[in-house]
Symmetry: C2
Subunit: 454 residues, 2 copies
């Protein structure tokens, strides 16, 4: 990775030098030799005053490629566009792929978006406005509207001619979509089939009519799952009347899978891990609110223990096992949580009731095995099987409860229509601290006359 | 998801009926109308005695598509192949993409692999043997050897003719690779450029010579990062002398990203989440070893508390804050761990020393803020600022230590050449329980004469 960033710095330094020394043509040539992704990195890495020269030298298509390849989450991409007069910015926007254009506009102040749209041809502005209105994390928000579409009654060579004409515009050229008179999607032709069949064949013979498509409102995670399963390079998006609205390409799906994984992982850790090069200060600011919130939840456990002060005074040995029971139950809860979140993400072949019963049984098995282990350990360690019994039973029940909570909380969050990944591991462990202590002290109270010998 | 699986059951039932009622031709037609991915699902879903009919009816190419589309991790794919005589199995293997063929062979007993290879043409067997020898999780293990390659001095129409000839074999047709006489990769031509330039143009004019490629030994995670960044549909793999060995296609990269995300997530939760439809029994068996291992680690904390029994007897109030301090420090450690694992996965633009110092500082800020909060809470709750001070200071130091451990452990694991994702959240929290208790009781000992008023 450091290698990559060194290469980037070299590129930026080299291109800056060319601009500084007035070698405009050499700059344009060198810049155009970069890979698309590098163009984005280099452009946003140039000092502002050099960017002001650069965008005057580069053509609109190149600049569109630059902006197509800057991640809206990573950089202040909207600032980069605002460095130019609106007329220029609009030329660039119009040359971008619609999905990236929309992502970029969504980062901008509403007033500015209105200005840009007012400078576009009316029908184009209308298309963009529609795309902006799709909810985030839906298929509609991911799709581009630059696809290849034809009618059914053409020959291979005629379709190939259309493909050649439109290939520069289209974001994905691997599939050509067949539409009927009402713009409904009725078939898909693969470019591979077009290339390997005779020119005079009717494309209807190589058109697949069993189409896998998604609706504009579908969740991006479900779309990603389909593309991953079917090994698609792109997937068509339709409205409720099967009219083709756009296509989602696999590069956007790769981003979705990454984004969802980071979300799940962040949730489990109770810290947003999407930025890895934060300053210490920013990093701390991200972590502290979670820790303080969990601290306050943890205070309820402290209060509970405090209310059992009499019991602890009678048997100080009870203090020894607090962290063992809360810790182990917390670990069990985290496991159940992770399994539940993952199952919600990838889907399950079983009914909800079956999953629930299965989890109860798994929790029972896990709790019993672990409780029995701790019973043996404590009995032999403290030569006191009544104490071992109290700790073992408390451990078993605490694990079953934590396990159930770890399973139920993400399921309930999902039912409420939210992302179950927000249910974090630390939240579960802190919550299960409370239930574990409650179970532990109540059971200890039942057994205390036995194990203290009082 | 349930919808999808219902569709699958319908497909299986329908195709089974056709076989049962002897409608062989209808079966073949219906089966061939399925999407590639569905073929794999349906075939492995048929009852064994019907599969024995099915493979006799379907041609080798279709069967190769079936096996190309069954996930080796999900199903007993090797058993499916062993249902056929070796001669038939080899015909299918030879029609599969080499990367999938190798994945499949790697699931098989060595003796059987030798049999299959002995039934192939010598050069083909040699190619496959080479691929089998690449280490898992490297670029070499992901690549397929069916790519499009040409020499530099051809015209567009000549290359297009070669593309058309080879399009059925190649796994990815979006790029054509240009090789020199020594088979070294010297350029890449995109199919899009071939389609949009005149037939009589020399391809050297549309060949990109700034090639992004990977080496066969590169880690799959690094390859995935490059493909994701550059939005590639495939990436070439070369040996140390820049000779082209194969290509990796984006569908395999999607699987890698998913696999790595599941690994990271499983690590953080201390449970393998890759199977979501386990039975309760299997699910419990997966969780119990981790819980017992962590329980044993947790016993060291219990032993430590036990050694402070005298202190707890003097001030039972100390028991109240054990779970608060261990819990909060554990949460902080989990956050640091998650950030460190993620940073190792995506790479960092900063030096290791800078990251280390930054994490120390972040831990200091987090610890101070949280310690101060708990000082205020305890002081007001128990009207005892000395107690508040003891708990607050202990909390601050415990967090800093847990934070540092959470950061250092994955970094050290990475330095040892292992996947840092094995460092689990529960391991960190259980370990930090020990250090937190040690810090807490030592500090409490210093303060005890003050806050007990003794």
């Amino acid at each position: 990775m450091e290698e990559k960033s060194e290469q980037l710095h070299q590129n930026i330094a080299h291109l800056s030098d060319l601009l500084h020394s007035g070698q405009d043509e050499a700059f344009v040539t060198s810049f155009n030799a970069l890979h698309d992704f590098e163009m984005g990195q280099v452009y946003s890495g140039l000092p502002e005053q050099l960017r002001a020269v650069a965008w005057r030298l580069l053509d609109n298509e190149t600049l569109a490629t630059v902006f197509d390849n800057i991640d809206v989450d990573d950089e202040d991409i909207d600032d980069l566009l605002q460095e130019m007069p609106p007329q220029k910015a609009v030329q660039i926007l119009r040359n971008m792929y619609a999905d990236n254009e929309v992502d970029l506009l969504q980062e901008m102040p509403t007033r500015l978006v209105a200005t840009y749209l007012s400078l576009m041809p009316k029908d184009e502005a209308e298309d963009i406005r529609k795309l902006i209105n799709y909810e985030e994390q839906t298929a509609g928000s991911l799709m581009s509207i630059e696809y290849l579409a034809v009618e059914a009654d053409l020959r291979v060579d005629e379709v190939m001619r259309l493909v050649k004409q439109q290939a520069l515009e289209a974001e994905a050229i691997n599939y050509v979509y067949v539409l009927d008179k009402q713009e409904r999607l009725v078939g898909v032709i693969s470019l591979r089939d077009l290339l390997t069949h005779p020119d005079d064949m009717l494309v209807s013979e190589i058109t697949k009519d069993r189409i896998i498509s998604v609706k504009a409102g579908d969740d991006q995670q479900d779309v990603a799952q389909i593309v991953a399963d079917y090994n698609f390079i792109s997937i068509p998006v339709t409205d409720d009347n099967d009219r083709l609205l756009g296509v989602i390409t696999v590069d956007d799906i790769v981003d979705v899978i990454d984004e969802e994984a980071v979300e799940d992982y962040s949730g489990l850790a109770a810290v947003n891990v999407s930025q890895t090069d934060d300053t210490a200060w920013h990093s701390a600011i991200k972590r502290i609110p979670w820790l303080i919130a969990l601290l306050l939840l943890g205070m309820s456990t402290a209060t509970l223990i405090s209310s059992f002060d009499g019991l602890v005074r009678k048997a100080s040995i009870l203090a020894v096992f607090i962290s063992l029971i809360t810790g182990t139950a917390g670990n069990a809860g985290t496991q159940a949580l992770a399994l539940a979140v993952r199952r919600l993400a990838v889907g399950s072949n079983n009914s909800a009731v079956k999953n629930f019963l299965s989890e109860i049984l798994a929790g029972f098995l896990v709790g019993t095995a672990t409780g029995f282990s701790v019973f043996l350990i404590v009995t032999f360690w403290k030569h006191n099987y009544q104490l071992g019994l109290a700790v073992g039973i408390a451990m078993a029940i605490a694990i079953m409860v934590a396990n159930l909570a770890g399973y139920l909380i993400p399921v309930l969050i999902d039912k409420l229509g939210m992302d179950p990944a927000v249910a974090s591991g630390p939240f579960i462990t802190t919550l299960s601290d409370l239930t574990s202590v409650l179970i532990y002290f109540n059971i200890a109270q039942l057994f205390i006359s036995h194990f203290t010998g009082a």
